[in-house]
Amino acid sequence: MTNEELKQHITTHEASAVFDETGEWLNVYIEPAVWKSFAQWLKKGELGMDYLFCLTCIDWSATAAGKTLLTMVYHFTATTHRQPLVVKVKLDRNNPDIETVCDIWRTAEFLEREVAELFGVRFLHHPDLRKLILTDDFEGYPLRKDFEDPVNMIKL
């Protein structure tokens, strides 16, 4: 499968998808509202994306254009055709709600816990959003650009 074929399949299924083909892999932007059904189609549909190999988030608040923007980034590939696909979902930084995909790809359960504690993204219907790496009583979201910790952090 090529990027062009990926693009055709996605356009046919989800007309609101926006593509970015600047990189080696095909990037596609999906609206948060249709993310859950799109994710289910990714796994079960023609693309058969059965492998979620990276799940992370970007905080754009340090840039002028992204003051209230968080971007969820999902990297998929399939064990059948091996063509990777990057899915991005833009979230409101002040109200970052997105549906969990851990019922579709089990690995997302831990990855979403990590993103939740470090970026403060709220994954709706996630079964267990306890902190994963940080201590249980940790306050704040340390990978957000405006994170401050005057006690533990020595500024250079």
Partner: protein, 180 residues
């Protein structure tokens, strides 16, 4: 026996040959420290890349078993020395303290690498790293480096042995007035 021991410069005592056998004159503490320093069992403990260098020192090329460190233990209750090989983060700090508390006396600590000494490259702009393992447990020997060369760890191990052979506890060394 005389020939065997007197060729060892660090043997803590004197041997007097008498008809019918020799006599060793020494102090009991010196003998104990001498024996102790030559059989130090390290705890299998590494938190980051320094651990790879520590494994290298354990393997055939550098081989710290030449100095009596080969019996790496997976439980602190059987270990004599803990080599802090790597970054200690805030969440690891209570674990390190508990491991140290579980070790039986006498116990020794080596801080290996910049992270264990001061937080190293994570001293600035990090919310999660302890700025030096000696904030948590007392350290006997510090090895600088990022990570230190295997030779540097060997040097630290030998330094620890010398420290033990000198016969003073860490507390005694601290409180001792310098002799002029």
């Amino acid at each position: 026996m005389k020939n065997d021991l007197q060729h060892k410069e660090d043997f803590p005592g004197q041997i007097h040959e008498l008809p019918g056998g020799g006599i060793i004159i020494s102090s009991f503490n010196d003998i104990v420290n001498w024996a102790r320093s030559n059989s130090l069992w390290p705890l299998t403990f590494a938190t980051s890349c320094c651990g790879i260098e520590m494994m290298s020192v354990a393997s055939s090329k550098y081989d710290f078993s030449r100095f009596g460190f080969e019996v790496a233990r997976a439980t602190p209750r059987q270990a004599d020395v803990i080599i802090i090989a790597g970054t200690i983060v805030n969440k690891m700090a209570p674990v390190l303290k508990r491991l140290y508390d579980q070790m039986a006396d006498p116990k020794y600590v080596i801080a290996m690498g910049a992270c264990a000494i001061s937080g190293g490259p994570f001293f600035y702009n990090t919310y999660s790293v302890v700025k030096g393992a000696d904030h948590i447990i007392p350290v006997d020997v510090y090895i600088p480096g990022c990570p230190p060369r295997p030779e540097a760890l060997l040097h630290a191990l030998i330094t620890l042995q010398q420290k033990i052979k000198s016969g003073l506890t860490r507390e005694q060394i601290r409180s001792e007035k310098p002799t002029v």
